[in-house]
Assembly symmetry: none
Homo-oligomer: 170 residues x 2
C-alpha cells in the first residue's frame, strides 16, 4: 500500500521551445506537488565547445574525455539515469519531510498525554492527602482517647473540601 505521487515527467529535452507558465498565486505550499512549481535551469545547447580553441577564455579545453557515444552527457542512458535519480531524490525528500512532520505531531501527542497524566497525578495526590488527613484525624482521636461514638468518619469525607474522593478514579 503505497500511494505514489506521480507527476509530469518529461522524458525529453526541449531544445528551444519553452513554455512559459508562470502564474501561480501564492497559496498553500504544502507538500503536494505544486503545480507548475518552479523550474529552474534552462535548456540549452551544450556549450562546451568541444574542440577548437576557445578563443577567449583561458583554459577552456578540459581534457575531452568523450568515451562512449557521442557525448556522455547527451547520452540517452545518462538522461535516463538522471531522471531516475531525480525521482528517487524527490521521493526521499518527501519521506524525510513527512517524517519530520510525524515527529512534530508525536511531540504534540506526547505533550497532551503528559498533561493528562499530570492531571491524574494531581487528582490522586489530592485523594491521598485527604485520606491521610482522615487517618491522622482518626489517630488523633484515638490518641486523645476520644471515643466519638457517633457516625464513623469514613462516610464523611467533606472535611477537607473534597467532594468525592473515594471512588474509582476517573
Amino acid at each position: 500500500m503505497s500511494e505514489r505521487s506521480q507527476q509530469k515527467i518529461n522524458t525529453e529535452q526541449n531544445r528551444g521551445t519553452v513554455s512559459v507558465i508562470q502564474s501561480q498565486a501564492s497559496g498553500a505550499t504544502t507538500t503536494s506537488g505544486p503545480p507548475g512549481g518552479s523550474l529552474q535551469q534552462v535548456p540549452q545547447l551544450v556549450p562546451v565547445t568541444p574542440a577548437g580553441g576557445t578563443g577567449g577564455g583561458g583554459k577552456a579545453t578540459p581534457p575531452s574525455k568523450m568515451k562512449k557515444t557521442s557525448g556522455d552527457k547527451d547520452s540517452d542512458e545518462y538522461r535516463q539515469r538522471r531522471e531516475r535519480n531525480n525521482l528517487a531524490v524527490k521521493k526521499s525528500r518527501m519521506r524525510s519531510k513527512q517524517k519530520a512532520q510525524d515527529t512534530q505531531q508525536r511531540v504534540n501527542e506526547l505533550k497532551e498525554e503528559n498533561e493528562r497524566l499530570e492531571a491524574k497525578i494531581k487528582l490522586l495526590s489530592k485523594e491521598l492527602s485527604v485520606l491521610k488527613d482522615l487517618f491522622l484525624e482518626h489517630a488523633h482521636n484515638l490518641a486523645d482517647n476520644v471515643q466519638a461514638p457517633d457516625s464513623s468518619p469514613l462516610l464523611l469525607n467533606n472535611r477537607t473540601g473534597v467532594s468525592s474522593s473515594l471512588s474509582s478514579q476517573r
Copy 2:
C-alpha cells in the same frame, strides 16, 4: 574522478532564463571549499536564449531588457547575490536540520517524562488502594461492632504488602 558537468537540465517546462555556471578556480570565494565535497559546475558562459519564450503567447521576442551591464549573469553583482543566497540557504538548512533534531530529542524527553509520570501514577494508585482497603477494613470492624482492642491500624500499613505508603510522595 572529476567529471565536469554543467547543468543543462531540463525536464519539465522551462522558462526562459538560463543558468550559468560559474567556475570557481581556486577557492577565492568567501565560502570555503567543502571538504571532499562535490564538484562545482563548469565554468562557461551560456548561450542564454534571449528572453523570448517562444510560446508564450504574447511576446514573441520581448525586448531584451537587460538592465545594467550587458550581462546580468556574469555580472559581478549577480555573483554576489548568488553567493549571499547560497549562504542564506546553507544557514537555513542548517537551522532546519537542527530543529528537526531538537524535535526528535524533545520526543525522547517527553517519552521519558511520560514513563516517570506513569510510574508515579502507579505508585499513587497503589497507595490509595491500600488506604482504601484499610478504610474498608476499619469500617467493617466498626460495622461488626468489633472493639479492636489492639493498636490502631494506622500504624500498621503492612497489611497489603506495601512497605511505606504513608509518607510524603517523592
